[in-house]
Each structure stands twice: as structure tokens, then as C-alpha cells.
């Protein structure tokens, strides 16, 4: 049985990105978010941000392959975003493609990619942050940034419920399929109904796991006092350089995104 661990998304590696102070990485992820918001109407301007998140994934030892996997999995989302925004901007810019009622213009395409990167860039940035930062240090950083200890712990727990949820879905699905549940038969409505025997026990399992975990944390006095941290990261010159470079890059991109004349 898999444990509901506080280790969730973290991947143990020794990389330059792992070595950075978690506060520097949190600031970086927030800057990526800000730059993505600022460039959401122009996918071209969001490209440097996208490239930087790929670089961060590589530097964190996860590799750009993970980004590729996320993008492939998000391709349906990209197609939907393109259709929606191409439709919304079909009367602006140069017509690139006309397929029946669909009129794809250069402006529509830029906005579609801008909106796509608005989601993808922060997802990749926070994936790099969480995968390269020990939950222990993430909690420490959140507390240092002013979050109450219980909030820091709850945030870390919630974050790490994601992989636990995926594991729970896989376990329950395998168990139900072994009992004869067919997920690929029937109409769309029938197929949706077939997921009920997965969703119900999955929620029950997660609730049970969370209940057990809350008992353990309570009896270890989580939230009892201001927590001591034996292992505290130390801000170094490398963190300062990284933060300043991030500010320059994302500040520049954000200014570029917001400037109407560029």
C-alpha cells in the first residue's frame, strides 16, 4: 500500500535548481506567473517565459521531457483554446486559415498561444519548484514568508494529495476492472456512469487516509507551537544573482507584454 506522504511531488536530486533557497524559487515561480499574465494576449512574447521554464525543468534534473509530456497531455486543451480564441479574434489581423466557420487569424493564434502559456508556464514553473524543493523546506519557506504554521502545513499536505490521489485512482480502477468493470463500453452517459464505482471508493479511501494522517499529525503536535527547523536553508549570493536575473528577465517580458506599442 502506498503511503500518503508529505514527500509527494518532490524528486530527490542534486542539481543547481535543488540547491537554490526555496524563497528564491518561490519568487521565481511567482515572477513566471506575473510574466505569463502580462503576455497572455501574445503567445510570441510568452515564448521566452516558456523557454525559461523548460530550462528550469532541465536544471532541476527533471528534463524538458516532462514539459513535453505535460504539453502533449495538454494538447486537447491547446486545441480548445485555439478554437475559442480564434473565434473571438476572427475579424482581427491577417487570415491564416479558413475551415468552414473557423477563421484563424494571426491575432487569434497569438492570443490562443498567449492563453495556453498563461496556464502552461506557471504549471511548469510550479512543477519545477515543487519537484526540486523538499516539502520540509517548502513549509519552512512559507513560514518565513509569513504564512501561519498550520497554513504552511496544510498547503504542503494539499499539494501532496495530488500524487496520492493519482495513486488512489489507479489502485481503485485496477481493483474495479479486475472485478469486471468495463470503462470503454456503452454510450457517453453510460461510460460516465461506469466511473461511479471508481469515484466513490476513491473518495472513501482518500478520506480514510487523510483521517489517519490527521490523527498522526495531531499526536505529533503539528501546529502546537512555532515550529523549530533543524535544517534551515541559507540565502547565498547565488540566490541573490538568480533572483535579480529573474526580476530582469520577467520584468522585461512583462513590460514587453504590457506595452501596447511593441
Amino acid at each position: 500500500m502506498e503511503a500518503l506522504s508529505l514527500g509527494g511531488l518532490y524528486v530527490e536530486r542534486k542539481t543547481p535548481f535543488h540547491e537554490l533557497d526555496p524563497r528564491a524559487k518561490i519568487a521565481w515561480a511567482l515572477l513566471v506567473l506575473a510574466a505569463s499574465v502580462a503576455t497572455q494576449f501574445d503567445g510570441l512574447k510568452a515564448l521566452p517565459v516558456f523557454a525559461s521554464t523548460l530550462a528550469a525543468l532541465s536544471l532541476s534534473g527533471l528534463g524538458a521531457g516532462l514539459a513535453l509530456l505535460l504539453i502533449v497531455n495538454a494538447s486537447a486543451f491547446l486545441a480548445a483554446v485555439t478554437l475559442v480564441w480564434a473565434g473571438a479574434y476572427s475579424s482581427q489581423g491577417v487570415l491564416l486559415l479558413a475551415l468552414g466557420p473557423l477563421r484563424l487569424t494571426d491575432v487569434g493564434l497569438k492570443v490562443a498561444f498567449g492563453k495556453f502559456f498563461l496556464i502552461m508556464n506557471p504549471v511548469l514553473a510550479f512543477a519545477a519548484l515543487f519537484a526540486s524543493t523538499r516539502p520540509y523546506h517548502l513549509m519552512w519557506a512559507l513560514e518565513k514568508l509569513g504564512a501561519p504554521p498550520k497554513v504552511a502545513l496544510t498547503f504542503t499536505l494539499a499539494l501532496n494529495l495530488l500524487p496520492s490521489t493519482v495513486k488512489a485512482v489507479r489502485e481503485v480502477t485496477e481493483a474495479q476492472v479486475a472485478r469486471g468493470l468495463a470503462l470503454d463500453r456503452g454510450s457517453v452517459v453510460q461510460r460516465l456512469r461506469n466511473y461511479v464505482p471508481i469515484i466513490v471508493p476513491m473518495i472513501a479511501k482518500l478520506l480514510s487516509d487523510v483521517w489517519d494522517l490527521s490523527m498522526v499529525l495531531a499526536s505529533r503536535y503539528a501546529g502546537y507551537a512555532r515550529r523549530t527547523y533543524v535544517f534551515e536553508p541559507r540565502w547565498s549570493a547565488r540566490d541573490t544573482v538568480f533572483t535579480v536575473l529573474s526580476l530582469l528577465l520577467y520584468g522585461g517580458v512583462a513590460a514587453w507584454g504590457l506595452a501596447p506599442w511593441w
Binding site: M1, A3, L4, L6, G7, D212, A218, R220, Y221, V230
Partner: protein
């Protein structure tokens, strides 16, 4: 029995979702440094009693508790579980849910860190428990790669870093294989022998219980129906069986012989059985 470490008087307890009382008038006194093993069928109230003694019910687990619980002089009804920090430690059944961090050191340091102890004190306590339970070989391992028994051992060690005077064990071996259970039970024996902890353990392994327990309490339907030394309790084979507890194998054999007309004493431990049966 020395001065009492844990005193429970006329305790009634139920969960918020319970229609009736789960514990019905439990009375109990456990001497300082002694070990009590709670036995009884599933659902008889063993875990509920431990949760109430630990102050988790009703402070963490919603419910209602009536009666008196005093642990090392702390009135649990008034202080709740927070007042028992450094007094009581509890270990649960499921080892998978009790090891929650990404390093054994972090795991051991977690409770004293949560208590806000100074960094040096946290490190001292971790070093102490590592030495006391010989955990050096686990320090550099990812806890998730440990076996069930090893995880339970780390869970016990994590609780010990709070330096509790009372250790509550809620069926700590019920989800372990033989090897894992042995590792955990040997550790509990060591804690009793070398560190003088007061231990209350809900445990099904009767042969182990009779070897290490100072007292045994049999629970049935939310009440303690038998209590005494292992000899006093398990020599009453019929009563024990009636309450859903399997007596030790040695006692079962002797009881069967007595039923068939042989005049033999009822031993509860294996070494006594050798004497009784002339082996």
C-alpha cells in the same frame, strides 16, 4: 504495583457518529513503569480507550467523553491532548500512514520540532533515540523504502523523541508480517526493560502478551470484563474464550487435559508448560 501513571475512572466515551456509548464505565489503573496489554475482539473499544487516554477523543476525534482520566497527574478532560505533550505518545496500527516525510532524520525530528524545542535539543533527542533503538543504519534511507516493520519502528522512535512517560500502542503489529511484528515487539520489550516507560498496548498476540505484560485487561462490549496478571486472566480459559480472546496455546492444551480428567496446573507461558508437562 507502584504509584499509578494512568488512572481511568467510570469512563464513558462515544464518537459523534455513534448511537450508543462505545466505552461503558471503564475503570483502570496502570502503575508507573508497568505494562498493560488490552485484549478483546475487534470493536470492543480498545482503540477508543487509547484515544481517550491520549486526549484525542474528543479533542481531535469528535465525540463525547464522561468520567475521569488522569495521566501522570494531568487531568485529560481539562488539558486535552495538547496538555499531554511530552507525557503521552501514541503509535497506530498502520505503519504506512505514520511515516510521512522524505528522510528518517526528518521523521524523528518532526515531533520535537513541532513542540518548538530549541534546535540543539531536537538534535540531542534524535541522537538519543537513534542510539537507544540502534537506528543508525536507517538514517540515510528514504522512509518510503522501508518495510512495514521498519516503518513501525521509525514511528515508535518518532514518538519517543517527545520523551513521553506513557506509550500507547494501538495494535502496532496487526498490519505487519511475522518478521516486522517481531522487530516491533522486541523494541517494545526493550523500551519496557531499559527505559521504564508505562506502556498500554492493544495487541492480539497472546503468547507475546503473557511474556511481557505485567497486567492484562480483557475488554468486551466497551467494558473491562477481566483484569489481572497474565496468570490470573489466562488460567480462566473458558471465561477468556467467552469474551472472544484466544488463550495461550499452553493454557489451551492444559485446559483440554483437565477437561479429560488429568490433574494439571494451567500454564500460560511456554516455559511453564515445559515444567507442567514434564518436557
Amino acid at each position: 504495583m507502584g504509584p499509578s501513571s494512568v488512572v481511568v475512572k467510570d469512563l464513558y466515551a462515544r464518537y459523534a457518529v455513534s448511537e450508543s456509548w462505545v466505552l461503558k464505565g471503564v475503570n483502570l489503573a496502570v502503575g508507573r513503569g508497568s505494562m498493560l496489554v488490552l485484549m478483546g475482539p475487534s470493536g470492543c473499544g480498545k482503540s477508543t480507550l487509547l484515544y481517550a487516554i491520549a486526549g484525542l477523543l474528543p479533542w481531535v476525534v469528535p465525540g463525547e467523553v464522561k468520567g475521569e482520566i488522569v495521566v501522570e497527574g494531568v487531568d485529560v478532560a481539562r488539558s486535552g491532548y495538547r496538555g499531554l505533550a511530552g507525557v503521552v505518545g501514541i503509535v497506530y496500527q498502520n505503519p504506512e500512514m505514520q511515516v510521512v516525510t522524505r528522510s528518517v532524520y526528518e521523521e524523528l525530528a518532526m515531533a520535537p520540532e513541532n513542540l518548538g524545542l530549541p534546535k540543539e535539543e531536537v538534535m540531542r533527542r534524535v541522537e538519543w533515540v537513534v542510539e537507544a533503538l540502534d537506528l543508525e543504519r536507517y538514517l540515510n534511507r528514504d522512509p518510503q523504502s522501508l518495510s512495514g516493520g521498519e516503518k513501525q519502528l521509525i514511528a515508535i522512535a518518532s514518538v519517543l523523541t517527545m520523551r513521553p512517560r506513557v506509550l500507547l500502542l494501538d495494535e502496532p503489529t496487526s498490519m505487519l508480517d511475522h518478521k516486522g511484528a517481531r522487530l516491533v515487539l522486541e523494541t517494545v520489550e526493550q523500551l519496557k526493560r531499559e527505559h521504564g516507560l508505562t506502556i498500554i498496548a492493544a495487541e492480539h498476540r497472546v503468547e507475546w502478551a503473557v511474556e511481557v505484560a505485567d497486567r492484562v485487561a480483557v475488554m468486551s462490549d466497551g467494558a473491562i470484563v477481566m483484569e489481572g496478571s497474565p496468570e490470573e486472566v489466562f488460567s480462566r480459559v473458558e471465561d477468556v474464550e467467552r469474551y472472544g480472546v484466544r488463550p495461550p496455546g499452553a493454557a489451551e492444551v492444559a485446559y483440554e487435559l483437565r477437561r479429560r480428567g488429568f490433574e494439571v496446573r494451567v500454564p500460560v507461558r511456554l516455559r511453564e508448560a515445559f515444567e507442567v508437562f514434564g518436557l
